[in-house]
């Protein structure tokens, strides 16, 4: 399972801006609903989060101290 950005459907207004900016095809419109597709091509650029006008799309970072 590949970690992917998360969409909160209750906040998403289906504007599709995230689909427009996503360079790796990780965000698609499926049955008129913005959906995340698992892909290793997603490099966590976080542009989708930056353009989302409703804050529905989030790219959280796990912070780890290296041993």
């Amino acid at each position: 399972m590949v970690e992917m950005p998360v969409i909160d459907q209750s906040k998403c207004n289906q504007c599709g801006l995230c689909i427009t900016v996503c360079k790796c095809g990780a965000i698609v419109l499926q049955h008129d609903v913005v959906t995340i597709v698992e892909t290793e091509d997603c490099h966590w650029c976080t542009t989708c989060e930056a353009v989302c006008p409703t804050g529905a799309l989030t790219c959280g970072f796990e912070i780890v101290i290296e041993d």
Binding site: E3, C42, E49, G60, F61, V64, I65
Partner: protein, 222 residues
């Protein structure tokens, strides 16, 4: 929903009570579950119950008139979320929102007052917790007033590392809302920290590769 006796001992206010007394006060508490993004309470609304976070992660924040958020704290299990409004009176000075599925234990304000009259020794724990909160707020004021953004971002990284317990994640927007800056500035600061060799950004993971160098950057950024 009824609360679990085994978990009730983790409510910080009850630490001074015997196991028997903790069991006796159990009926006063209730459980409340929240989905991710759901609000526990909202700034400006009356505070009718005290909430303790038992499971999950909660963002406590203030919102400006133009919608800008300032995160006051990212709360992890066994933290009390709204003691200032409960004891100080008046409406909630902050909002609290679930960042993951969350379980809260709550007690109505009048029941809490009744509990305090029955067990005045609880006041010591409450004073201690309120003092700790004051120190945290002072630290936040100090950071926002005196630290450069790179130091603030570095401090956020050190204070929000994933541990065995609540595995919290932070977005760049949330880091910006803690640091009192814009998302783009956080992105630039992370890049600078990576260029200086103290962190490595590996997709959704920020690895702190040189903790002492990061601590030095935080110290020097005032």
């Amino acid at each position: 929903m009824a609360v679990d006796s085994a978990l009730l001992k983790d409510v910080p206010y009850l630490s001074e009570l015997t196991a028997q007394a903790q069991e006796a006060v159990k009926p006063l508490f209730f459980e409340r579950s929240l989905r991710r993004s759901e609000l526990a309470f909202m700034e400006g609304e009356p505070a009718d119950a005290l909430y303790v976070l038992m499971n999950g992660v909660v963002k406590v924040f203030k919102t400006s008139s133009n919608g800008k958020e300032q995160i006051i704290s990212i709360s992890t299990p066994h933290e009390v979320l709204n003691d200032t409004s409960i004891f100080g009176g008046g409406p909630n000075p902050v909002s609290a929102q679930a960042m993951s599925p969350v379980v809260l234990y709550g007690i109505k304000k009048d029941k809490l007052e009744e509990l305090l009259r029955q067990h005045p020794q609880m006041s010591l724990s409450i004073i201690k917790l309120l003092s700790e909160r004051s120190l945290k707020l002072l630290s936040l004021i100090e950071d926002l007033s005196f630290k450069h953004v790179i130091g603030r971002v570095g401090k956020i990284l050190l204070e929000h590392t994933a541990d065995g317990g609540a595995k919290q994640r932070l977005t760049q927007q949330e880091m910006a809302a803690i640091a009192g800056t814009a998302r783009e500035v956080v992105a630039r600061s992370l890049k600078t920290l990576e260029e200086r060799g103290v962190v490595k950004i590996d997709r959704h993971r920020i690895l702190i590769t040189d903790k002492s160098a990061l601590e030095e950057i935080i110290m020097e950024s005032t």
